[in-house]
Amino acid sequence: MLKNRKWIIRSLMVLLSCLTLLQACRMNYPVERPARVTVVRRPELRAEGKRLTMLMCGSCHYDAKTKSLTGKQMKDAPGIVGKVFAANLTNDPSTGIFHYSDQELKVLFRTGISRQGKLMPYMLRPNLADEDISAIITFLRSDDALVAPKPNTIGKTKYTPIGKFGISRTKPLRYTDQPVPKPAADTLALGKYLVDNLACYHCHSKSFLKLDYQSPERSKGYMAGGNRLKGADGKTIVTPNLTFHETGLKGWTENDLILLLRQGITRDKKIVRPPMPILPELTDEEIVSMYKYLRKLPPVENDTQ
């Protein structure tokens, strides 16, 4: 009898831990349908929308082979996480974002939850300005060749249990319809805005699991590098420290940063390796504002090389 009881308790415990583990790996959420989601399309921003879309979405969603935003596999996702594919952003009815409403797109950026309730941490951009959202959505809905309907057959994201566990560490944010203004040109605030919305801090802080999407500066090891990523050759690549410490960017000039970000060439005339993206759409002014912002950050000693 006693033996039997022990058994029952044991199996109960196993069952409970399995349940907690499953809950810990939560990937799906009820779809939030906020009463008010303000989005305005602004045709006058279409050209800027194209530049912003290539700049902010292109490195993951643009495929050079189809010459459009049909999406592609994220090769830098480690194998143990599973296979991750950035979605097809063309207006294709079956594989693209044809069925997304403008409001659902905005909810995705602000909360990280897709229209079907799936958690997508890569897509979390709570501080993306309304103006930029308008520009991007205006462009995505245009008749530009980059978003003309094209089916995409490369594959569907499939996470392993470990991947699910990792992804589920990020908690979605609540939607608020609070207006988010775009910082004025050539200010430290613009530099911070770009480091946030171009996701520099995702890779250049300590770990993807220790990011604070709402207040990026509170992320662990903010901009001091040390995140371990997968390089193109499958080997680990540790992200460099971008604070102005000897072990970071000390000695870099504005022009060094321009050459690196737009052309992918480092200060000592070496190439910068993937997954560091090359961002040819950045203007001088934008890079200079990021430079000034990075210079203002407290220098942190972290030799990652």
Partner: protein
Amino acid sequence: MIPNKNTSLGILILMQLLLSVCCYAQHEQMMKGKQVFEQNQCVACHGKDGTTPYNLSVRLDSLSDEVLKEFIKDPAAFGNRQMPAFRSILSDADIDALIVYVRTLSKPDQKKRRRR
């Protein structure tokens, strides 16, 4: 004028000579290209054989030398967002040599030999 035996032989020797000079020059270009390829970290993204992880030879045959040259200088202008722009670190002569070398990478027979 009908050339006699001697002039024919002369012309043949001259042609042979020219050809070998050409071949030699081509070979020189190729060796230089190989060096540039390996020193400029093209290998970091294309591997020694030009295929791993990013295969560069898929549509190489349909690209002219001029286009290829512009591509290597500024891949972003061709929609490639991962390859650095080599405009600022390679001379035109380097790029010419690279193109000769890169084209040998897309020849299946040579690839086979390299793979062994």
